[in-house]
C-alpha cells in the first residue's frame, strides 16, 4: 500500500511529510469563522440559516451539510409521490457535451414537477457551433426560461454562466471540474444503503479528470467520512481538490492499490479510466486492468459493501458483479430523478416556479 499524504500544497520536489498538519503557507481559506470566502459567486456559505440554493449550484463545495440533508429529505418524498407544484416553470437544458442520464433525468424531473424543458437541439446545429460565446448563449436563454442546467466541456463554464444569468444556473458537469448534482444522488444512494454516519469510502479510477469524484469528495468531507483515493499515480486527485480537502480538515488517504484498503470500506465508488488519458493503447490497457472490479476482486470486501459507479460503465466493473448484493449502480442512476426534483423544487422557490 502506498500512502501519500501531501495534502497541504507541497513545494515541488519536497516531501511534505504527513499531511494533516497545518498548512505552512496558506492562510485558511475558510478561516474557521463565519466569513464568506475568497471566490466571489461561490458563496461558500458559513451563514447558517441561509440556503444558498436560491442562487446557483456551481460546486459541491458550496453545499452545507444542512443544505444536502434538506434536499435528500425532500428527494425521499418525491421518490414516493408523483410531484407537481411547478406547472408554469420552464427549464433550459444547455448541454454542450453528450449526456444521456444527466440530461434525461433533469428532463424527467422537471416534467414530473409539472413544468417543461427546452433544449438546444443537436450540438452541430446550435449557435455554439457558429462561434457564439457561452456568455451570450446564457444571456439569451436566461430570458426564455426560469433556470438553466449547463453541461460544458470547459472547467469554470458554470461559474461563468452564473455571472451572466439572472436566473439560477445548475452545473451539470464542467469539464474536469465539478458535477454537484451527481453528488447529491450519490449521497442519496449512500444514505439509503450504508448511511452517512461513520462512513469509510473508497473512490477509485480517474481521480484527476473525474468531476464526479471532485464533487463527491468535497461533499463527503462535510459528513466527516474517511476517504480513500485509489488511482494510478498519473491520475491522482488534482492539486486544487487536495488543497480544498486539506482546508476542510477531511480524513483522507491516497493509495495506488485497492487490495489493502478494501476490507475497511463501506462504499466503493468506481469511475472509468478513459483511453484518451494515456499516450498509447498498451499503457492504457495495463493500467486500466489494475483498477477493474470482478467477483474475485471483491472477495475481501465487507459483506455489506455498497459498490457504486456514476455510469456509463465500460468494463471497469465486470457484468457478473451486477448479480452481487454489492451492486448499487443502477439504483444509484434511478435516484437521479427524485434528487433532481428536490433540487429543482428548492432552486425554483416556493412560488410554484413560474415567472
Amino acid at each position: 500500500m502506498n500512502l501519500r499524504a501531501d495534502w497541504a500544497l507541497e513545494r515541488p520536489g519536497r516531501n511534505a511529510g504527513f499531511a494533516l498538519a497545518p498548512s505552512r503557507w496558506i492562510p485558511s481559506a475558510t478561516g474557521g469563522t463565519e466569513k464568506h470566502v475568497t471566490v466571489e459567486g461561490f458563496n461558500i456559505p458559513g451563514c447558517a440559516g441561509r440556503l444558498m440554493l436560491q442562487d446557483h449550484l456551481i460546486s459541491a463545495k458550496q453545499l452545507t451539510r444542512t443544505d444536502i440533508e434538506a434536499i435528500l429529505d425532500r428527494a425521499v418524498e418525491y421518490a414516493d409521490a408523483r410531484g407537481g407544484g411547478h406547472e408554469n416553470a420552464l427549464l433550459g437544458l444547455l448541454f454542450f457535451e453528450p449526456s444521456t442520464r444527466t440530461k434525461m433525468s433533469f428532463d424527467t424531473a422537471m416534467k414530473r414537477l409539472g413544468g417543461d424543458t427546452v433544449d438546444m437541439g443537436a450540438l452541430e446545429s446550435s449557435s455554439a457551433s457558429k462561434g457564439e460565446s457561452l456568455a451570450d448563449t446564457v444571456r439569451v436563454v436566461a430570458g426564455y426560461t426560469d433556470a438553466i442546467v449547463l453541461r460544458h466541456p470547459s472547467e469554470g463554464a458554470a461559474k461563468l454562466a452564473a455571472e451572466f444569468a439572472d436566473i439560477p444556473v445548475i452545473n451539470a458537469g464542467d469539464g474536469a471540474g465539478q458535477h454537484p448534482t451527481q453528488t447529491l444522488l450519490d449521497l442519496f444512494t449512500i444514505r439509503e444503503s450504508a448511511g452517512l454516519e461513520d462512513l469509510t469510502v473508497g473512490i477509485m479510477g480517474d481521480l484527476k479528470y473525474g468531476r464526479t469524484v471532485h464533487s463527491l469528495a468535497a461533499a463527503l468531507s462535510k459528513f466527516g467520512a474517511n476517504q480513500h483515493f485509489i488511482s494510478p499515480e498519473s491520475l491522482r486527485l488534482p492539486r486544487g481538490v487536495r488543497y480544498d480537502l486539506h482546508e476542510a480538515g477531511a480524513q483522507v488517504r491516497e493509495h495506488t492499490e485497492l487490495e489493502a484498503v478494501l476490507p475497511e470500506l463501506d462504499v466503493l465508488y468506481v469511475t472509468r479510466i478513459q483511453r484518451e488519458r494515456f499516450p498509447d493503447e498498451q499503457e492504457y490497457r495495463a493500467i486500466a486492468g489494475e483498477y477493474r472490479i470482478d467477483e474475485a476482486a471483491l472477495a475481501k470486501a465487507k459483506p455489506a459493501l455498497t459498490l457504486m459507479h456514476p455510469l456509463p460503465r465500460v468494463d471497469e466493473i465486470a457484468a457478473a458483479v451486477d448479480e452481487l448484493s454489492h451492486a448499487t449502480y443502477f439504483q444509484q442512476a434511478h435516484n437521479g430523478v427524485p434528487v433532481r426534483m428536490a433540487l429543482l423544487d428548492t432552486m425554483l422557490g416556493a412560488d410554484g416556479g413560474g415567472r
Binding site: P27, T38, S133, L134, S154, E155, G156, L160, G175
Partner: protein
C-alpha cells in the same frame, strides 16, 4: 529626513517617484518587468540587487524617478514581492510609506495555465484569481498557481 547616513543604500536618492524596498533578493528584475519598466521611455531607474538588509539579510531595491505607483500596480507587485515596502517620494521626502498588502483577487493580470479553462477561450471575461497567500487560484476552473506564478503574468 535625519542626518544619519543611510548605509544600506548604494544608489542615489530620487527627487520625485517611487522606491520599492525590501524586494526578495534577486526579484528586482521581475518587479521591473511586471511594472513594465524597461527604460525605453527614458525613466530614470536605479536598481540594487542583493544588497545587505537588516530585515532580509539580502534584498533588492528599485527606485523609479518620476513615477508614483497606482493601486493596480501595487496589487500585482504584492504577488511577486509580498514583503516589499513602497515609498512615494516627493521633493526628496517620503510622503507615503506602505507595506504591500495582498488584494483578495487579481483581475486581468495573470493568464490561467489551464488551457481547458473557460476564461482562456473566447468569452467576454477577464481572467480573475483569488489570492491565497503566495499562491493564486483561478476563480473559474480553480487551478492553483504557485511556483510558476511570475511566468503567468502578462507584462
Amino acid at each position: 529626513m535625519t542626518d544619519e547616513p543611510d548605509r544600506e543604500l548604494r544608489v542615489s536618492k530620487i527627487e520625485n517617484g517611487t522606491v520599492i524596498d525590501h524586494i526578495a533578493a534577486g526579484q528586482a528584475v521581475t518587479v521591473l518587468a511586471i511594472l513594465g519598466i524597461d527604460g525605453a521611455r527614458g525613466e530614470e531607474v536605479s536598481v540594487g540587487i542583493n544588497v545587505p538588509s537588516d530585515r532580509l539579510g539580502r534584498k533588492d531595491i528599485v527606485k523609479v524617478e518620476g513615477r508614483e505607483l497606482n493601486q493596480d500596480e501595487v496589487d500585482v507587485l504584492s504577488l511577486i514581492a509580498p514583503a516589499a515596502s513602497i515609498n512615494i517620494v516627493r521633493e526628496y521626502d517620503v510622503i507615503e510609506k506602505a507595506r504591500v498588502t495582498s488584494p483578495e483577487t487579481v483581475s486581468g493580470v495573470l493568464s490561467c495555465p489551464n488551457t481547458n479553462c473557460i476564461s482562456t477561450g473566447r468569452e467576454p471575461v477577464e481572467s480573475r484569481f483569488a489570492v491565497l497567500g503566495e499562491a493564486v487560484r483561478c476563480v473559474y476552473c480553480e487551478t492553483i498557481i504557485r511556483e510558476d506564478l511570475p511566468r503567468r503574468i502578462d507584462v
